[in-house]
Subunit: 102 residues, 2 copies
């Protein structure tokens, strides 16, 4: 299992647009067979800062996500709304360590 | 619902100690009635960097966690193993927006 945590800073005037586009990406992404989670979160202290928490059952499932139509559409749609390039960190899962706990 | 993402940098010589203590905290924390997730993750590019992803069903459940014996024990145990103070960010949940999806 692998988790990507993506931090995104959005231009204030596009916060609502970003939320709608990212909810759509969430809804499609959780249908991918190798997806375990796709959480969309907004920082309480800074409404322009978002965290996407994406868990997959393997490296290949994570890579497959980046080839889906919904991901490519999301990336193209939200790109001009970002205040700066997004940052992503890949993680190995320590706990919970069983797939069915995800 | 509320999610805290905690980033911890651990001294290299205490990585294994930190993992064991944090797995114990995970096991107790997921038993809390208001806890929805307590994921423990290790950065793939930097084995000294960890992410704790803690979801609760309310602000009060998140606050209650910080009064539990297992949290207080964890905090005291791992404090000297940290390379620098940990950082935590609180988030509002956008998706999934139903408790049963957590």
């Amino acid at each position: 299992m692998i988790v990507a945590s993506i931090t995104v800073y959005v231009k204030p005037e596009h916060i609502d647009d970003f939320i709608q586009a990212t909810i759509a990406n969430h809804q499609d992404s959780i249908q991918e067979p190798g997806n375990l989670r796709f959480d969309v979160l907004q920082c309480q202290d800074d409404s322009t800062r978002f965290l996407l928490y994406e868990a997959y059952d393997s490296e290949s499932s994570a890579a497959a996500h980046k080839k889906t139509g919904h991901y490519l559409k999301w990336r193209e749609t939200v790109e001009p709304w970002m205040a700066k390039p997004r940052t992503g960190i890949l993680h190995t899962v320590i706990a919970p360590d069983k797939r069915e706990q995800w």
